[in-house]
Symmetry: C2
Subunit: 436 residues, 2 copies
């Protein structure tokens, strides 16, 4: 029986899940791969035993070099997260000929263009299924199962924390701040939630998916990122009333003129499948020219779902190892020499429908002023709502536009913001009426 010797960097939530799977599912993994996946060593800066796992002969050390530079390790699993020291450690592992499995979306999104060629040059695998959407095998699906397709768009719910917050805001009618506080108390959101709620985590994932789908290296600077801090309970109520849900979507589109990569709160029809993805779940929708739209749904985070994806990558390496091959599938689907950089479509040129929310003084003539500005920018309305009366405070004025360009919207809202009767910065949320 061939043996693949595994070292794990990091012993947090995901590390613990990986270790547990390797220790408890050894027989099953061996039946499926023909290889013994032997966990040799766990390196962590704070080597506490991490719960009740019986580690047996597995070594626990605080010397990270004992994993990335040790002679007795064939594969390094990196579940530390963050850019450094993860990046230096993985470069070192690859240079010393070790295969790498990582769940580190930030690292791949920022430095994939350096790490992937380094792995290829050293004839090592560099796998990262766990970096996107937890247990959902979207990386493999895009690289392999949809390889016969030109992919023109993909979109999905890529951050469970945001989806949980938006779901709770709607179900409880609560504000963003209140739900965030509760989510933090329950462990569904970090003490510093900005990576999640500002859309950065989803953007890391989106750029990896887009790179594979379109055949390029990930370029994080290309992603337009908006988080959910500005989504108010008023928006959610109005969206519901008009037959929409608000979701934080990652959207990647490609056509002859270039790509659009955006992470943004989005109004989607309540009858769409993406609208029904609730709580901490993730889902990804991919449209291929031959397959049509396929959809993938599951747990996007958590100890065991993420560990399931990490160990799937270890299984892949073990299977390659057994038959003596390496580098079978390129990290971003196309071979490095065939990757292209794509022109990014300027936000101004985006075209779509928009939800607008103004806070206006409740007096005659306001509506006429606002609609005059919109008309001057060739923006026509599908719906307009005003509710509530107040002699002193501002009242919300909600509008839904027909298709227009983002340039027109931004110009119009700038002018509207200057109107006397408009008392807060106008907000807009893009609508995607054609999601499935």
């Amino acid at each position: 029986m061939q043996e693949l010797r595994v070292g794990v960097l990091g012993f947090g939530v995901v590390g613990r899940g990986v270790v547990e799977l390797l220790l408890t599912q050894g027989a099953l993994l061996q039946q499926r791969t023909g290889v013994r996946l032997r966990l040799v060593r766990i390196a962590t800066r704070t080597p506490s035993r991490n719960g009740d796992l019986a580690l047996g002969e597995v070594e626990l050390t605080d010397d990270l070099q004992r994993v990335v530079a040790a002679e007795d390790i064939d594969v390094v699993v990196e579940v530390i997260g963050g850019l450094e020291p993860a990046r230096s450690l993985l470069e070192q592992a690859l240079r010393s000929g070790k295969h790498v499995v990582t769940a580190n979306k930030a690292l791949l999104a920022m430095h994939g263009a350096d790490l992937v060629p380094l792995a290829v040059a050293n004839r090592c695998e560099l796998m990262f299924e766990a970096a996107v959407a937890g247990a959902i095998p979207i990386i493999k699906v895009l690289r392999e199962s949809l390889a016969a397709n030109r992919i023109d768009q993909l979109y999905g719910i890529l951050n469970g924390t945001c989806n949980y917050i938006l779901t709770e805001m709607r179900e409880r009618g609560s504000s963003f701040a209140d739900v965030l506080r509760d989510a933090q108390a329950k462990g569904f959101a970090e003490a510093d939630p900005s990576f999640d709620v500002d859309g950065i985590d989803a953007a890391h994932k989106l750029v990896l998916l887009a790179a594979i789908a379109f055949g390029s290296y990930p370029d994080f600077s290309q992603v337009h990122i908006e988080g959910i801090r500005h989504v108010s309970d008023v928006d959610i109520q109005w969206a519901t009333e008009m037959g929409y849900r608000i979701k934080l979507l990652g959207i990647a589109k490609q056509d002859a003129e270039g790509v659009e990569l955006r992470v943004q709160p989005t109004l989607v029809p309540v009858s769409s499948m993406v609208a029904s993805v609730e709580g901490v779940y993730n889902a990804v929708f991919v449209r291929g020219h031959a397959a049509g739209t396929t959809m993938y749904h599951g747990r996007g985070a958590g100890e065991r779902p993420t560990a399931s994806a990490v160990v799937a990558d270890l299984v892949e390496i073990a299977r390659n190892w057994r038959v003596g091959c390496v580098g079978r599938v390129a990290a971003f689907s196309c071979l490095s020499e065939n990757l292209r950089a794509f022109p990014v479509r300027a936000t101004d040129e985006w075209r779509g429908e928009y939800y607008l929310r103004l806070a206006v003084a409740d007096r005659p003539g306001v509506l006429a002023e606002v609609t005059r500005v919109l008309a001057e920018h060739q923006i026509s309305l599908d719906a307009i709502h005003q509710k509530g009366r107040s002699a002193v405070a501002a009242v919300p004025l909600i509008m839904v536009t027909h298709a227009t360009t983002e340039r027109q919207i931004r110009l119009a809202l700038r002018e509207i913001e200057g109107l006397d009767a408009v008392q807060e910065t106008p907000r807009f949320i893009r609508i995607e009426p054609s999601v499935v």
Copy 2:
């Protein structure tokens, strides 16, 4: 540039889709694989040009041997379907060292236990992603992406024709016979619909999924199969009224005592995801001990979706070819020597909730007789409905039971059928309340 020479057997709907993808997506496939997938020859008994495809240098022949036995073919794509001559042709192809990609679910379900060892012995790939659920990459997901999981159950909508018929029956309030006739006219159902509507096609697919999930050769005789002919519009109306949808599900469950494999009309809660899979779509739900439940949704049939899966297999073979490996992943996930036959749980021992429909005379005392029989078999009721009045005709009596065994249900219904007031064979449909 390495070249992989492809021969196609069969030039029907799927064959045409495969040929079109190979002819139009050559550059993309080359960028993704580093290999030229060259379509050399199409063999079909009726070599008409099949539409407006410009075949160029591709040879079209009626001599099937010119694909399975020719020196200038490396991979055979079989899209003829059916058991013979497909089986003999593929055996011949494997014996002469050719890789095989097939969409033939019946062949794999019936003879996979012979074909797979033959492929292994000849160091050939035998791939069949397109055999189950069209564009949905469920075979690869089960074999590879969920390889770290003990899978205890999977279920899904595996036949688009049945799902279309059930969807139409509900939406239009029409009978099975009427909707079937329309579906045949539209090309959504075959002239002889029995493979679809009697559940056989879904059972072929289910047994392949179960073999991969549980690590055994497919044994078609283990599948309990019920089709949708007996589902009446009355059942669909009552299911809707009680908060259910009726779906033809393929269900595979495994526990310490054995496996259950069944294809059956099933009541599922209307709020479940599986209930929302409508029309010709397919979806598969897999529950793994680490990943939790993941779900896969898309087009389960049709020219391009099926061709997408066939060409994904060709891409896999090309990628293996480029790095010089074969037999990387076992057909049924576990290596042949690790496959096991599982005991099948007898239908009598199945446990669950049941929907019952009787046709009874509308007179006093009937309800008392029926409920007495149920009580004698320890069957308790969750709901009972009777509607409509008639002095002459039978009226429907609808009941939903609490959990019981199938033995009790069958014994009770046999006795109930003997009651004077009961005027048709009682029908039951199993309920799966815990689907997601």
